[in-house]
């Protein structure tokens, strides 16, 4: 605190006040009753003086920094200049520009694995495109998402709505599917290349549209893009590399076969750099000094060996920035005024949380009886090489264990064991082979164990106060 105080002369009160929303508007501090003339702005009543407010100000600054970073991680902001995809960006931009300005119809697919920046690419291109005034007033945009518009009927309604055609004929548009289709086709057919406004259709999750009946929507959109009607650009986003094989032959023939691949060929060095960038505070952060300090600490962090190891592991698993964001978000939430920077330990802890095995965690919460059942199942599936088993078999295995080896586990009643078995089923650690509708007695219903042996062993190691005989039973080869 004292260290901070010595530097405080550089912090102008106005900045703190306006940004941090702590209103220092008193003559006398409520805590120390010390009159600080420099921050005397308005003479009202109760508020702390600057010195007393400092911890709050710091708190607020951390809050601000966290807010900025969290928004960055959660809201998928479009960066001002995406890196590494310049050629694709140029390609797409030119394509859409030609549609917007020359009225040339086009169709294009952006293909890339999840998290490779397809939507970001499209958004940044559209953003740049719409900066041109000529385009702004001309182009109509229609966004569709395969997860939202699950069939053509909904998609058509959505198109009509987004083109703002629904009020042309009142509620008539939303008649039958067939009417809607003819209506829309007629509307699009009426236009021609030079006189009507171009429409840019973006189809997110393009592959899902290919599963619609007859691919009517795709056929019609692509057919329009291949005929002298209203100029359209159909931009599909998909993560499926085989998307063209999904298209029916006539739909495929109408598609222009332009594909933009986003494959994310970045190496580890770039990854680290990007991480650093993602952790840093922007230049326009309210408090310059705070930002500088923060950014230098981040730089130090990224050069740390253990952090590099964690990041490399993460990089090896996935190059996707979304999973990186998860990691950083967890590390960030550990930052407080008392712990003002992200420490390598934070990153490691976050990484541990991220890579934690969910099922092993569940196993930690099981009772001894349930754990014993799991071990019995493990033995059964080893014995029968992954064949399914039923409650009776598990129960027999368990009884054998109790009779032969167990000293600490006493014999449970059958209904109690069945209850434990059902609980495991509810936790989906075991799954019935046939659906719940099958009319077989519970005891004889065939189930399969959904756990790997390594998971069970790992859980046993960490299980608090696990009886040794149970552990031995688990490690022994057969029952």
């Amino acid at each position: 605190m004292s260290k901070r105080k010595s530097k405080d002369t550089q912090w102008t009160a106005g900045e703190c006040v306006s940004q941090v929303r702590i209103y220092i508007n008193v003559k006398y501090c409520v805590f120390c009753t010390y009159l600080n003339p420099r921050i005397l702005i308005q003479s009202v009543k109760s508020a702390p003086c600057y010195r007393c407010a400092l911890p709050y100000i710091l708190l607020a600054l951390f809050g601000q920094a966290q807010k900025i970073l969290r928004e960055r991680y959660c809201y998928q902001r479009v960066p001002s200049s995406p890196v590494g995809i310049e050629s694709q960006r140029k390609n797409l931009l030119e394509l859409l520009r030609r549609t917007a300005i020359h009225g040339e119809s086009n169709s294009v697919l952006i293909v890339g694995p999840r998290g490779s920046g397809k939507t970001m690419l499209l958004k940044s291109v559209l953003k740049e495109l719409f900066e041109v005034r000529e385009v702004q007033s001309n182009v109509l945009l229609v966004h569709l998402n395969g997860l939202l518009q699950t069939d053509d009927k909904i998609a058509l309604k959505e198109i009509t709505r987004q083109l703002q055609l629904e009020n042309v004929v009142g509620d008539k548009v939303f008649g039958s599917f067939a009417e809607n289709l003819t209506f829309l086709l007629e509307a699009l057919k009426k236009g021609n290349r030079s006189s009507s406004r171009p429409v840019i259709f973006t189809l997110d999750e393009f592959d899902l549209f290919a599963h619609h009946k007859n691919q009517t929507l795709l056929y019609n959109l692509l057919d329009i893009s291949q005929s002298a009607q209203t100029p359209v650009a159909v931009v599909g986003l998909t993560c499926r590399l085989d998307v063209l094989e999904l298209l029916e032959k006539r739909v495929k023939s109408r598609f222009s076969h332009r594909q933009i691949h986003l494959l994310n060929p970045m190496d580890f060095h770039q990854y680290i750099e990007t991480t650093q960038e993602h952790l840093g505070l922007p230049q326009d952060f309210p408090d310059e000094r705070f930002a500088q300090e923060w950014n230098s600490s981040i730089k130090m962090l990224c050069e740390d060996r253990s952090v590099k190891d964690v990041l490399r592991k993460h990089f090896n698993t996935s190059k996707d920035f979304r999973s990186l964001h998860m990691l950083l978000l967890m590390a960030l939430s550990r930052v407080t005024p008392t712990n003002p920077t992200i420490k390598p330990g934070d990153i490691q802890e976050a990484s541990r949380l991220c890579s934690m095995d969910a099922k092993a965690n569940i196993l930690h919460g099981l009772s001894i009886l349930e754990l014993c059942l799991i071990i019995a199942m493990k033995h059964l599936s080893e014995l029968y090489d992954g064949e399914p088993f039923n409650f009776q078999m598990v129960h027999n295995e368990f009884k054998k264990f109790i009779q032969r080896k167990s000293h600490s586990i006493h014999n449970f009643e059958t209904p109690v064991v069945l209850k434990a078995f059902e609980h495991l089923q509810q936790l989906e650690l075991i799954n019935p082979m046939d659906g719940p509708s099958a009319k077989i007695q519970k005891e004889y219903q065939l189930v399969k164990l959904m756990l790997d042996h390594s998971q069970i062993m790992e859980a046993l190691q960490k299980y608090p106060q696990c009886p040794t005989d149970v552990k031995q039973w688990a490690t022994s080869a057969f029952g």
Binding site: I101, S227, H257, L263, T317, N431
Partner: protein, 875 residues
């Protein structure tokens, strides 16, 4: 539209009213002057006579065809009752594209005088279901306000190409129909005729209408027809023969009839003409002679045009019915009167060449074209016949146009005065007063009565000047369009034009740009063209099945054919036809095909079932005005249903005699009929098939060259590379064009970076080809994360171990852990392993079972093992 009873509900019986008044010995046909129509529910039969306007059973119950009855005769055997008519066309029957020529909203009750040489004017008399009132209005006149449902209005004439004002002659009603069966013997001239009570009771729904500011005529009277199963009566051959013979000696035959002009009638006519000049008022057509013996063998039919002629020629005023009404209704039979008219005709014709010359044109509406058609039918003669007919038509058109100004003038002259309510002559006044006195009763009477007398009176009352102003009202406001078609809003700034060679080339290479010609499909074009043309010319139906892989120009060729045929039709080389296109992919359900066809055909909206019924009716029943319909069914295989009834109907309709439907079906597979169609459908589709072969590289090259059309943007080698590559892969022209477009883009970028030749070269094309055809799997594997790569290796190792191409995740994961240890990496947890596996599954490098199986899900490779090894080894 008046309500009439559909034949489903009410049976109608037809019989001739009276005995034949004349006989054509050659053809053994008997001509009658009235048709007696007895309806089940009503005890009293009603009479329909030539000159009346009738409704004829058609496709649409709500909108039957409208026509004017010209002749009634029986067939050779005497068994069938036939009629010759002059058609009127409703607005919705006019081809969709031509409707805008009208330039205004059509009045719901509006019909158009139909002038088409090709349409059949002979109908089965038993298809007549009712009479209707038709009123001629001035082209610029307003529609009467409170329109009764049973009155139709004629303003313009439709001659297949344009709307023209109705020429004066046509406004002239036909010869007066014969009087009712049992008229009261002797009504006094111009006195208020006492209506025949019996007759009045019988008829229904003849409503009063007022004709303000317009010349009109009124076909009054309403009849009900009975009967069922009406098809076009006369066998084609017979009718053609008959018509041919009629036409061969029209003048002679007519002259033979002209023996004795009735003196009194000529006088009457003159009197009428004088009267006309005074009155100049809107007239009703169906002011009939109050009485004439039913037996009078009036030969009404073919005379109407001539009479019309002499009226307009002699009196320069619109032909009026009044003029033809003998002032004193006597028992004189119409025969002498008509003879008189006829007697005058020849001389008149000589006097006024314009009108005389026009006569054949008018006549041709009814008589000439069938002759042409008959002559055309044999295929071998088609060409010559076409030539002749077109020459004839041209001549006629010439005459028409030369004649038109005259008639227009005369029309104008007469229309103008007629628009002012005039004080009419004394006796007219008397009549009007008389009718005014009991206007209410008149109205009633007119609604109930059917006799010409009462009609006449009613019309007189309708004309009363006193009443006219009050009933005059602004024309009906145009209804708001029922289905406004929306469109994408227009852009605020115009699209930019291409600026350089590459951009121009790109624009030309876009699939959507319509090429000047379709190269490499000349043979197919010729085949389809001649097929469709022959069907159109012969007025018959047919099916053709066109197959070919996507992008081989099937639809483009058919469209090109239709374009050429439409041009030909515009030049009158072939009859006009109606083109409809449906696409199996552009509908949500196969049954929507009916809805779309119906909507494009008649602009009606209906449910699928109803549309199917309407279409079946339309194609099954004779509809003389029907043009040939060319139906293009794209993506035929999508119309498959389990019962295949949609396809069955589509191919069955063309086989119907009256359908005149040509179906061009397009699909991708050559053996579609054999594969998915049941026998009865495949058999109806017939054997006219055509298959579009994939383009060869030479053809593709030619296509690109012709599209580029001397825009020098490509090196020859580059073009050849593209076309060879595409020809080897698919022969899809779309693909070829897309690659070329992409190559121009690449060229443009590279030109921006370093100065190139400006032409698209091999390297650019190679790059484009790579982009479009190379599989991205290998690149994707190389860019995958380390754990993903290890997982793929683990999959390979596990496959090798198992000797199977499939393993569970659990098994693979064991291998994965081992490999991690070998690589010196920290082993990952199962959760992370599953995430890795899931990511690979999302890119479809792996095929996975659904995720609820967790560690037990099975894993397969979606790429060949060699590819994986190759991709991983490179590193």
């Amino acid at each position: 539209m008046s309500r009439y009873f559909t034949r489903l509900r009410i049976k109608r019986f037809y019989s001739w009213g009276g005995r034949p008044h004349s006989v054509n010995r050659k053809l053994k046909t008997f001509y009658y002057d009235s048709l007696c129509l007895k309806t089940d529910g009503l005890s009293e039969p009603c009479l329909i006579k030539p000159g009346q306007y009738v409704l004829i059973e058609g496709d649409d119950d709500d909108f039957p065809y409208v026509a004017k009855l010209l002749k009634l005769f029986s067939s050779e055997t005497g068994k069938r009752k036939l009629a010759e008519v002059q058609w009127f066309i409703r607005f919705h029957e006019i081809p969709f594209k031509k409707r805008r020529l009208l330039g205004r909203e059509a009045h719901p009750q509006e019909v158009f005088f139909y002038q088409d040489k090709t349409c059949d004017t002979e109908i089965d008399a038993e298809t007549i279901i009712d009479t209707v009132q038709v009123v001629f209005l001035a082209p610029d006149g307003a529609f009467p306000e409170n329109t009764s449902k049973s009155t139709l209005y004629v303003k313009l004439c439709w001659d297949m190409k344009a709307f023209r004002p109705v020429e004066a002659e046509w406004v002239q009603p036909g010869p007066k129909p014969a009087p009712p069966v049992a008229p009261p013997p002797a009504p006094v001239a111009r006195s208020l005729p006492t209506p025949d009570v019996a007759v009045m009771k019988r008829a229904h729904s003849v409503s009063l209408r007022q004709l303000s500011r317009s010349v009109g005529k009124l076909g009054a009277g309403e009849a009900e027809s009975s009967h069922s199963a009406s098809k076009l009566s006369a066998s084609k051959a017979l009718s053609r023969k008959r018509r041919g013979s009629c036409e061969a000696t029209p003048g002679v035959r007519k002259k033979l009839d002209l023996s004795s002009p009735g003196k009194r009638l000529t006088k009457d006519d003159i009197l009428d003409e004088l009267l006309l000049e005074e009155v100049e008022s809107r007239v009703e057509l169906a002011r009939r002679m109050p009485a004439s013996p039913p037996q009078s063998p009036a030969r009404v039919f073919s005379l109407s045009p001539m009479k019309v002629l002499n009226k307009s020629a002699v009196v320069i005023s619109p032909p009026r019915l009044i003029g033809q009404n003998p002032p004193c209704p006597t028992r004189i039979s119409p025969l002498p009167k008509q003879d008189s008219a006829r007697a005058r005709t020849p001389s008149l014709r000589k006097e006024s060449s314009s009108s005389a010359l026009r006569e054949p044109a008018l006549g041709s509406v009814a008589e000439e074209p069938p002759l042409d058609q008959a002559a055309m039918t044999p295929r071998s003669k088609r060409k010559s016949a076409l030539l002749v007919s077109s020459r004839i038509r041209k001549q006629l058109n010439l005459l028409n146009t030369s004649a038109n100004p005259v008639s227009d003038d005369s029309e104008d002259d007469c229309f103008l005065p007629s628009q002012e309510p005039k004080s009419s002559s004394g006796d007219e006044e008397v009549e009007e007063e008389g009718s005014d006195n009991d206007s209410v009763t008149v109205r009633k009477r007119r609604q109930t009565s059917h006799t010409p007398r009462s009609t006449r009176k009613g019309s007189a009352s309708a004309r009363t000047p006193r009443r006219t102003p009050s009933q005059k009202a602004p024309p009906t406001t145009p209804r708001t369009p029922r289905h406004a078609t929306p469109s994408i809003p227009a852009r605020s700034l115009p699209a930019r034009k291409p600026r350089n060679v590459l951009e121009e080339a790109r624009e030309r290479l876009h699939v959507s740009s319509v090429p000047e010609s379709l190269p490499c499909r000349e043979q197919e074009f010729q085949d389809v063209y001649s097929f469709v043309e022959s069907k159109i010319v012969d007025g018959i139906g047919g099916c053709m099945y066109i197959s070919g892989v996507p992008g081989t120009g099937k639809t483009a060729t058919v469209h090109e054919v239709i374009r050429s045929l439409q041009q030909a039709a515009e030049l009158d080389e072939i009859p006009a036809f109606h083109f409809i296109e449906i696409n199996g992919m552009k509908m949500t359900d196969p049954h929507q095909a009916y809805v779309q066809i119906l909507q494009k055909l008649t602009d009606q909206k209906a449910t699928a079932d109803h549309a199917a019924a309407l279409l079946a009716k339309r194609f099954n029943n004779p509809a003389p005005k029907k043009e040939t319909t060319v139906l293009l069914v794209d993506e035929l295989d999508l119309l498959w249903t389990r019962k295949q009834n949609v396809m069955y109907n589509l191919f069955d309709w063309p086989t119907r005699r009256h359908a005149r439907l040509v179906v061009l079906a397009i699909a991708n597979t050559m053996d579609l009929p054999e594969r998915i169609m049941i026998n009865r459908v495949a058999s109806r589709l017939g054997l006219t098939r055509m298959s579009f072969q994939p383009y060869t590289f030479k053809q593709l090259q030619q296509i690109i060259t012709s599209r580029l059309n001397h825009v020098k943007a490509f090196e020859e080698d580059a073009l050849q590379l593209v076309s060879r590559k595409v020809a080897a892969l698919s022969g899809d022209a779309r693909r070829c064009l897309d690659i070329c477009r992409r190559a121009t883009e690449i060229c443009e970028y590279s030109a921006a970076q370093q100065s190139g030749s400006g032409l698209v070269g091999m390297s650019h094309v190679m790059e484009a080809l790579d982009e479009m055809f190379s599989s991205s799997y290998i690149a994707a594997i190389r860019c995958a994360s380390v754990q993903e790569q290890i997982f793929l290796r683990a999959v390979l190792a596990e496959f090798r171990r198992l000797g199977l191409e499939e393993a569970t995740f659990q098994q693979v994961f064991v291998q994965h852990q081992a490999l991690c240890r070998v690589e010196g990496l920290q082993p990952i947890s199962i959760s992370e392993g599953l995430a890795v596996c899931q990511r690979l599954g999302a890119c479809r490098l792996l095929l996975l079972e659904p995720s609820r199986l967790d560690v037990l899900r099975r894993v397969r490779l979606n790429v060949s093992q060699d590819d994986v090894l190759y991709a991983l080894k490179e590193e």
